[in-house]
């Protein structure tokens, strides 16, 4: 039976929860990289073996580690993501941290992408051993403008936080940039175009600005072509390509909950089913469950209607945040959902959100949760 791994990136290291396909009992392995920030850890679904982790110690520069034995041993990338060395007199940039890692298209088995803060895009064609900048983005003369000038950094820095490869077209890439917007490339990253029509940006003077919106979490459906969702600073959106204008499906959320949040998860077999974790985006943006009562909200009809899913979650006085990379799913049936909190808890539901249980508490502040299956 395949083993299920839950990869938990935290502010102080990487933890790996393990179970068999029954999901009845869970082991824990770690911490790996104790004391270091692990923004993201991803196991390559193409070979079910290569595991990459984005690691940064408080004092040291950012890097990427690789494992080919589910974390038993690690080797550092020989050339981690880094911006081009600036010419004399030119302003150079430095990678603060690697935020996002994603394996490439199935037709490119050694390809990975890395996204960074400040917003930068990097590619590896040797399974994460060496990385180089994607010039079409990093050297694009529009990039700094797209990213709001880089000085308007959110708490952890302006970030290129998501990249998805169109599963039906290796050259078609989607990216999400905090306070920048969604962009797409149809030529493997050589050129990019904003994709933000219909997305609100109540912090910009121009309601129809071509970019500058603030996507928090971007998801592309893995099995049904051209279905894209995203959780934004200003709402929840769906885009069915062909069309280029996002629809605010979060407008159908209960008015006392609203549609602000960070993570969003898609059902890998049903393009109309998704889950979000609403948070308080009022006043100073507490980024906490509304009223201290955490709940996942799920939709089975592409966001036309939503259902509160809080069975087993704390009834009140629960004040944590679920970060944008910290909610995901497995591939089993019924689908398992998982989220991690800034209080160091890992919650899971094995009935698609109806009931939740806490798999693990007392971990460090959770930055990311990914699920992998290993043979």
């Amino acid at each position: 039976m395949a083993q299920l791994l839950v990869l938990v990136g935290t502010r102080k290291g990487l933890f790996i929860l393990g179970s068999d396909g029954t999901r009845r009992s869970w082991s824990i392995d770690g911490p790996h990289f104790l004391g270091q920030v692990v923004n993201h850890a991803v196991l390559d679904p193409r070979d079910q073996r290569t595991l990459l982790a984005a690691v940064r110690a408080g004092h040291l520069g950012p890097t990427v580690y690789r494992s080919e034995d589910a974390g038993k041993s690690w080797a550092e990338a020989k050339a981690p993501p880094a911006f081009r060395k600036a010419a004399e007199g030119e302003r150079g940039e430095t990678v603060s941290h690697v935020f996002w890692l994603t394996p490439g298209h199935t037709s490119q088995p050694s390809r990975w992408y890395a996204c960074t803060s400040p917003p930068g895009l990097f590619v590896s064609d040797d399974a994460g051993r060496t990385w180089s900048g994607v010039a079409g983005f990093n050297e694009n003369p529009e990039r700094i403008k797209w990213c709001g000038g880089l000085q308007d950094a959110p708490p952890d820095g302006a970030t290129l936080h998501s990249l998805h490869v169109d599963p039906f077209d290796a050259k078609h890439l989607y990216i999400g940039i905090s306070v920048g917007g969604v962009f797409e490339s149809r030529d493997a990253g050589a050129s990019w175009a904003p994709l933000n029509a219909g997305v609100a940006a109540d912090f910009l003077p121009d309601p129809d600005a071509p970019y500058g919106q603030d996507p928090h979490c971007l998801r592309v459906h893995p099995a049904v072509r051209d279905v894209v969702y995203h959780q934004n600073h200003c709402g929840i959106y769906r885009l069915d390509r062909g069309a280029n204008r996002w629809q605010r499906i979060g407008a159908n959320m209960p008015k006392d909950i609203g549609d602000i949040g960070f993570p969003l998860a898609l059902h890998p077999r049903d393009p109309k089913t998704l889950w979000v974790f609403p948070m308080d985006g009022g006043t100073v943006w507490p980024r906490m469950p509304i009223g201290g009562r955490p709940a996942v909200y799920g939709s089975r009809d592409a966001g036309a209607s939503w259902k509160r899913l809080d069975g087993g979650l704390p009834a009140d006085q629960a004040w944590f945040t679920v970060k944008r990379q910290a909610m995901t799913h497995d591939a089993l049936d019924p689908l398992g959902l998982y989220f991690g909190t800034t209080c160091g808890e890992i919650w899971a539901s094995f009935d698609e959100g109806a009931h939740w249980q806490c798999l693990r508490a007392h971990l460090p502040h959770v930055y990311s949760v990914e699920v992998a299956s290993v043979a």
Binding site: G58, H59, L60, G61, E76, P80, A82, K85, E93, T94
Partner: protein
């Protein structure tokens, strides 16, 4: 020459705090260190050749402000992971 390293870099040197490396400048010394302990340079020097914000490098107890600093064979180099945060 003798190079003293901070604990965050220990995994690169099999936990040796004092190592030997050569170079006529800090840049050359760091390149030699990286040959001996692959990956160590990028953790303390960024891609623009600047010393990272929370790292300080001292040569004979005087802080170096960049990696162009000349070195003599008798110098001692101390790399410090500066105290920051809590």
């Amino acid at each position: 020459m003798k190079v003293v390293l901070p604990t965050p870099l220990a995994e690169y040197t099999a936990h040796r705090r004092e190592v030997e490396a050569e170079g006529a400048t800090l840049a050359e010394l760091l390149a030699d260190l990286d040959r001996r302990y692959p990956g160590i340079r990028f953790r303390v020097i960024d891609e623009q050749d600047a010393i990272r914000p929370h790292i300080k490098i001292f040569v004979n107890r005087a802080q170096a402000d960049g990696i162009a600093r000349p070195l003599a064979p008798s110098d001692e180099v101390l790399v410090v992971a500066a105290l920051s945060g809590g």
